[in-house]
Structures are given as C-alpha cells and as structure tokens.
C-alpha cells in the first residue's frame, strides 16, 4: 500500500470513434497517472471524453494510439483478471434476481464458493447500509437504494479499483449528499483506488484527492488539480475557504476549455 505506486498510467492516449458523420476524436493526447489509493474525479461538459476515458480503463473502449496500463497490464488483461468494479449511471440491477442475487452474480461468474458468496454478500450489504434488504427485488427499492446495491455489487469481489460513471447523476441533491458521504467513508475504510466521473463541481471537489478537468472537441485534459483537503471530510467542509478556492480553479479550467471552441 505505497501511496505513490502508479495503478493507472496513460501516455499520449488517443481515441477516435468512426461514426456515420466521419471520425470523432473522443480523446486527444491524454497523459495521466493515477496512484494507489487516489480518489480521482473527471469533470467536464458532455463530449469531453470523461466517460470514454473511464470506459477505456475498463477495456470497454479501445484506444486508437498511445499506451494505457492498469496494474502494469493492458486494460483487457486487467479486465480478465477482474481488476475493477464498475458502477454505471443507472443501477443496472437484473430484475429477475433479488438484491442478494444481484450481488452474487459477479461472484458466481468468478467461481466463488457458495459459502464465500453468502459471506461476501452479507458483508457488502452491511457496508452500503442495505442489511435486511437482500431478499427484496430491485423494483421494490428506491432509486438511491438501487444505486447503493449496485455499488455493493461492484465491491463484492474486492477489486482494487472502483470505476464510477456519474453514479449519482439521476438522484436528487439530498440523497446524493448522503451517498457522497458514504462513498468517502467506504474509500477511507477500503483504501481502494477510485475513478469517478461527474458533472458537478462541488461533488468533484468534495470527494477527490485529484481532480481532472476535461474539455470537449477534441476531448482532452485541461487541468489536473491535487486537492489539499484533508482525508477526513465532514459535509460542512464545503463552506471552507480551501474548498471554495479549489472549486473556483475547477470552474476556471472548465471555462478556459469552452473559450477555445
């Protein structure tokens, strides 16, 4: 658990989508190093490539040129070794499985024993505060609870890296605040490396140790901010001067990206 061990390294990364309207450059010359235990937020307007970059780390998209390594391996290799849990914008729970059944699904696929499936499911359900809801079906729970269940599912197989693509984008402000707090607690407890895509400046500043500001057409990194905020973050840290200064710098970065259009 050395704090400076690089986990994800991108060098000169380019990704071009071939669409019906011709090629679209989704990522241009992206260089970024994410270290063990970092909480990295990617923020920027739509079309800036933040989701594409996260999907490239997960080997769901394939870079056109440049190098991208995860734990020193290619993303495809890392995917086959189950190096990360991925949380999407929607919970994506399977409606024919109970909450427990959904959390067990990746464990079944990875060949964990029945006893271990039970043990891990119980543990992550407690971690996301859904104890007692294991026998419910997804459609019997609220949106926030479904999203917590999907986080539990991504945690169940104990991957070192957690990739989250606007996980709380569809939830209201109050639920979102609470889940943000829970994600921070989870991160402190597990020491995982987290990649987090968001639209929201306060969310990015509140959660991250490193904020990557991106700008669109072509998608590229405009600024990388290392947050000086302490690891322990109560909700009211958002009224502190440091917080407001970082938020200001993020906003400047986003605006600069837009001027170049």
């Amino acid at each position: 658990m050395n704090a400076t061990t690089p986990v994800i390294e991108a060098k000169g990364l380019n990704l071009v989508f071939q669409t019906a309207d011709g090629p679209v450059q989704a990522l241009k010359d992206v260089n970024l190093t994410i270290n063990q235990g970092d909480f990295v937020s990617f923020i920027g307007p739509s079309g800036c490539g933040k989701t594409t970059f996260l999907r490239a780390i997960a080997a769901l998209e394939h870079p056109t040129s440049g190098t991208l390594t995860v734990n020193g391996m290619s993303p495809d290799e890392a995917r086959r070794r189950r190096a990360y849990g991925y949380v999407f914008q929607a919970a994506g729970l399977y409606p024919w499985r109970t909450i427990s059944g959904n959390i067990k699904l990746p464990l079944e696929i990875m060949g964990f024993s029945k006893a271990e499936q039970e043990e891990r499911t119980a543990r992550v359900l407690e971690l996301v505060e859904l104890k007692g809801f294991g026998k419910k079906f997804p459609w019997q729970l609220s949106g926030g609870m479904q999203q917590r269940a999907s986080i539990a599912r991504a945690l169940a197989f104990d991957a070192d890296i957690l990739l989250m693509d606007e996980p709380f984008g569809a939830l209201d402000e109050i639920v979102r605040d609470r889940l943000n707090e829970e994600v921070l607690k989870l991160w402190a407890r597990t020491g995982k490396t987290i990649g987090f895509v968001t639209h929201s400046i306060p969310e990015a500043v509140y959660l991250s140790t490193k904020i990557v500001v991106m700008s669109p057409r072509p998608g590229r990194i405009a600024d990388v901010i290392d947050s000086p905020l302490p690891k322990e973050r109560p909700l009211d840290i958002r009224d502190s001067r440091e917080f407001i200064e970082i938020a200001h710098r993020v906003r400047e970065g986003l605006r600069a990206g837009h001027h170049e259009d």
């Binding site: 769901l60 995917r79 991925y86």
Partner: protein
C-alpha cells in the same frame, strides 16, 4: 314457441342479476368475480338451447347444446381416442420438437452473423408456405400416422418461436452486457445469466402464438390422410355423414384442449417472468 320465450326470459333475468352482482360488494370478492362470467356463459347456452328448440332449427344447421352434451357423454371413448391421437401424439410432440429446434437455431444464428443472413430468410420462406400445400407432402414423406402431423406442427411453430427468441436475445441492455464484460464473463455465462432471462417475455409470446398454431396444424393435417381416428379425421368424415352433433362435440373438445394448453403456458410464463412489468401486480 314457449321454449324460446323461456330462454329469452332467462337471458333477461341473468342479465339483470349480473348487473346487480357487478354493482354489489360481491364484485370485490374472488367468487363474485368468477360468478359473473359463469352466469353469462350459462345464459348464452340457455338462449342457444331455446332458440334451437323454439324455432325448430335443423340439427344439421345448429344442434342444441344439450344434444352436443349428450353426444359427448355417449361417445367419450371415441373422443378420447381422437384427442390422444391428435393432441397428445401430434400437436404436443410437434410443439416441443419445433420449439427445441427453434431454440438451437436461434443460438446458432446468435453466434454467427453468416447464419443470421442465411437462416432467417429460409425460415421466413418455409413459414410462408400454405399449410394445405405442405401437409399432403409431409403425409407422403412421414406416413398416415401421427408422425406426419407432428412434422406439420414442427414446421408451423418453428418460425414464430425462432423470430421471438432471436429478438429476445437482442433485448438485454448495453449497460447490462458491459457489466458482464467488466466481470470477465464468457459467452455462455452471459447467455445463461443475462440474455436468456431477459429474453423470456419474448420467448413466451412466441410460445403462446405457436400453441394455437400447433392445434390448427395437427387437426388440418389429418384432412390429407390419417388412420381412422383423430380429431381432423372425425370432423371431415362426420361432415360427410351429416353427423354435425359429432363435429360440434369434437370442436368442443378442441376448444377445451386449446384453452388448457394456452392457460398452462400462461401459468408458466407468470412463474418465470414474474419480474417483468407486465406481470407485476
């Protein structure tokens, strides 16, 4: 004429009673909800009986329900033999074989885009062949007994089931397939744990459509050659002998068998796809 007026009177009385029932507290109970359609069915039968007796309708045009019921009672062994031949040996094995073949073909099509371009048009072509042209050929190939009937049913049910399975396998969401990919799931794991369960509502639509086709296929195929029993054989020969009461008795058995078959599939569907919005209560 008095039979006619009695029947009309009964009809009006039953109507009035149903209006009363539907408006009363009984409509909220299970028994009450079952009683209303039951009373309607009985009223239709009584009106039918009264019309036939009161207007002296010839039995060849329309036999009375009591005559049909008496015929069913008297000819039970014959009706059972016909039922076993046509439904148990023709329709159901044909349905099972056709559904199984459609499933295997759907997986093959799913695995290979080449087959998708080749097999679907062929399936479509076979489905477009008229049964009255196909049945005599299959009777020549597979003989007069139930095997040729099952073959006709296979051909009839194959395509609707195939199209529905192929469509169903495409119906899982991209995000759900991406999730499977991030967990490093294999093709077969993704198929069993995601794509097949997601396809079930489609598959059951196909099976329900095919269940009625199977019955029609098995009965009509017997018009083109069969042993001296079977529901299709019975209908075509009894029409020739003006034994319309026996034709109606056979139709009653066919309607009952079809409803039970369809109902069974619906029950299994409710059990398998309980999670689908159309099944949640």
């Amino acid at each position: 004429m008095s039979a006619l007026w009695l029947a009309v009177g009964f009809w009006l009385a039953a109507w009035a009673l149903n209006v009363l029932l539907a408006g009363s507290f009984l409509a909220r109970t299970r028994a009450g909800r079952a009683l209303v359609p039951l009373l309607f069915g009985v009223a239709v039968l009584v009106l039918w009986e009264g019309l036939v007796r009161g207007l002296n309708v010839a039995p060849v045009i329309l036999p009375a329900p009591s005559v049909i019921a008496a015929k069913i009672g008297a000819e039970l062994p014959v009706l059972w033999q016909d039922f076993a031949q046509t439904i148990l040996k023709g329709a159901i094995p044909g349905f099972v074989i056709g559904a199984g073949a459609a499933f295997v073909t759907a997986i093959a099509i799913d695995r290979s885009p080449f087959l998708q371009r080749g097999l679907l048009p062929i399936g479509n072509f076979v489905a477009a062949l008229p049964i009255v042209g196909l049945a005599p050929i299959l009777v020549m190939w597979f003989g007069f007994d139930w095997q040729s009937k099952a073959a006709v049913v296979v051909v009839m049910v194959f395509f609707p089931i195939l199209v529905n399975i192929v469509a169903g396998l495409q119906s899982s969401e991209r995000m759900q397939r991406d999730l499977m990919a991030t967990w490093g799931a294999s093709y077969w794991q993704t198929l069993w744990k995601l794509r097949l369960p997601a396809a079930m509502p489609f598959i059951f639509n196909g099976l329900k459509i095919a269940s009625t086709l199977a019955l029609i296929g098995a009965i009509v195929a017997e018009f083109f050659g069969s042993p001296v029993y079977g529901m299709g054989f019975r209908i075509s020969t009894e029409v020739g002998r003006l034994g319309l009461d026996m034709v109606w008795a056979t139709i009653a058995v066919a309607a009952l068998a079809g409803s039970v078959f369809y109902g069974l599939i619906t029950l299994i569907e409710r059990w398998v796809t309980f999670w689908h919005p159309s099944q949640r209560h």
